[in-house]
Amino acid sequence: MVIYKFTNWFREFGWRHLVGLIFVTISLYPILYVITNSFADFANLQNSKLIPDTFTTKHYESLTGDPLIPYFKWLFNTYKIAGIAGFLNVLLGTFAAYAFARLKFKGRRVGLITLVLVQMFPSFLAFVAIYLLFFQIGDVAPLIGLGTHIGLIMVYLGGSIGFNSWLIKGFMDTIPTSLDEAAKVDGATDFQIFYKIVAPLSRPIIVVLFVITFIGIYSDYILAAIFLKDANLYTVALGINIVFMDDFANEWGSIAAASVIAATPIAVLFIFFQKQITGGLTAGSIKG
């Protein structure tokens, strides 16, 4: 009877838990591995295992103070670049979205369709041209040429502004126009309507798009790699993957510690906004 009950339970639920648990293991294993290894007292990759015998914080300490591995500078650079580019991206995107959502003008449809079409092509596809363009700009204006953060930020700005404008515009369309009309009657200008009514009401989508853009730039490799050549200016993705690669197996502990520090805030941010991000992604992919 007990056996019968169990097989019944297994058919109904048990196998689901089995499959579920197998993938829990697969999902968690690499994550746990890197976390434990960052605290593990092994010399290198060769001796690494999931649960170390002794724990230490020496790998975290090794990330500070070595001028050849300016890890926290990389981290700072990355937050700076992703923060500024993400902020300006949604700011300019919100401006454009406002025009498309609220102002009637010639070429509005064409403009919107162009936005969608342009964003089919990720900006990094033309990285050869971007490299050559900034190579030449660097001759004239070294402040924004190759090797500078400003140039990189400008490229990131172009990268997703069309996509963001489009999604913000879609959200603004759901805000009733009766609100702005009432304000207009009271003598509000377009700018006042924008920043007193439409922009504040669009905040949910703006915040989510800022987070998505921020995470996207934080994780970018190719554009940062063509721009940045000085190790002090690296983003964290570049720094970890270039500087530590010389001695991958022996640097394993430091790599693990660096990975944990770089990944944790992003993972927390992602999980916090997960519903909106995945909602936005699907909506975005379907709608363009």
């Binding site: 639920f13 689901r16 838990h17 499959v19 993938f23 697969i26 999902s27 968690l28 690499p30 994550i31 290198n44 990759l45 060769q46 690494s48 300019l92 401006f95 454009a96 003008f105 919107l112 964003q119 089919m120 092509f121 900006s123 990094f124 596809l125 033309a126 990285f127 050869v128 041209a129 490299y131 050559l132 030449q136 700009i137 004239v140 400008m154 490229v155 700005l157 172009g158 404008s165 200008t189 700018f191 995470i215 994780s219 970018d220 490799y221 190719i222 063509i226 993705a237 970890i240 993957n241 790599i255 770089a262 990944a263 992003i266 993972a267 992602f270 992604l281 992919s285 379907i286 363009g288």
Partner: protein
Amino acid sequence: MKYSTFIRYFFLAIFNGFVIYLVPVTIAFESWFLLTIIIVISLLINLTYLTSRLKPLKWITPGMIFLLSFVVFPAAYSFYVSFTNWSTGHILTKQQAIERLEDLTYTKDDQKGVEFDLYILQDQDLDFYFLADLAPDNLLFGKAIDEEEYSQVNYATHEPSFKDLNGNISIPDKYYLLSGKEQIANSSKLQELSLLIDKNTRVQLYNISVFGASSGRLLSAQQKYSYNSETDILYDNVNNLACKLGNRGNFVCDGQIIDPGWRITVGTENYQRIVDDERFRGPLRIVTFWTFQFAFFAVFATFFVGLLLSVTLNKDSLKFQKIYRSIYILPYAIPGFISILVFKGLLNPDFGLVNEWFAPVYELFNIEPINWFRTKASSRAAVLLVNTWLGFPYMFLITTGALQSIPKELLEAAKVDGATSRQSFWKITFPLLLVSISPLLIGAFAFNFNNFTLIFLLTGGGPPIVGADVAVGYTDILISFTYDLAIAGGRGYQFGLAASVTTIIFLIVLLISAISFRYSKRLERVYGNL
């Protein structure tokens, strides 16, 4: 003044200040191309913000400038580059190349055979000084510097006081005169040093003598090439040759190509190379084929796992659903460049844990451990495995969403009609699911088609394809291949060729987008949103 007006003028002033800074610089660099862009953009901006008629543009312009400059323009520019020979040796413009050539010098042995006494001195900082006794009344003294310091003009001075009344050398106390033996000990350093007399002439140590004074000689630097802009001919002053224009953006002297050359348009040469050159076409074919394979299997594998999990967990009254879901998000939440790094460690063929786990299996079947990343098959498998780990959560999320939106009545009606659960899955659930998520699958295909980060960071494209003309490997996809061609392959910069491969990528992405529009009727939705 209104708040908005103030902000507008404030930013316009900053912008125009920037333009005023850039215009003279671009003129100085004779960069007419950039100058045109700057002028067009600044006219557009000033027109937009100083007139009251173009209201919508005021909102749109700032964002659009970045979109046009760094997304649209580079696409067009890369198409242009694909028709040039822009590559190592042809990086500069013609003007820049000529300037570079005219700056080159060659050293002429001035008075062959004429040697003179040279004394080598050192001060308290251990810097070296040369004292050259050129003629009885011509005693030159100065700091001896190496080639890197030539630009800090530090010419020799006449120092008659370094000789006493009898004509013997007498050195002031602050300097120390090196003996012949000491000179030999420092000879490698001393040979690199020169005493500059004027812009073109310098003194170098010629021969160290242990007993008497060492000897020096005069060398003079002469301009190696001079360019005549009227005849467009470059003269080689060393060999007295006239160098004419070659047809590849070079001067050619007596059959020799002069480096550096400059970039010129070469028509469809790069595209012809893609079609005709077997040593390039072969690898490109492998890469293109694998790019499609990778993108397809990447989507297939992540979709399979994601669907398996969403179907498994899509069961009412199943416990711990929330916990499962929140754990499956984790691989997606971690930045890709970190996860890839961890897998690089786990899969490491020598020390990695994956081979450690499989050791009993290898032993049982008596097979060699998998040499991850070192063979074609294992590298490709590794790329797909890691991608599945990275990507299944996304597929899990979207298939879960799609499953939950399928009306329950449909499935219940099928049950009433006697369909088994397998039948109702394949006949109802799965087709409906595909309809709603196929645009996302196409999107995922396009994403993986250009998944540079994964390939570049996990395998670097390797293992290398032997016999290829360019740096390329068996896991390279088109975009990482382009990257190696253009910048990182270690075989020079081949921008023109790389740009022509970029054009291929653009065409394929265009095709994918067209298909996606068709499938999802996406444009209709776009129109709906207008």
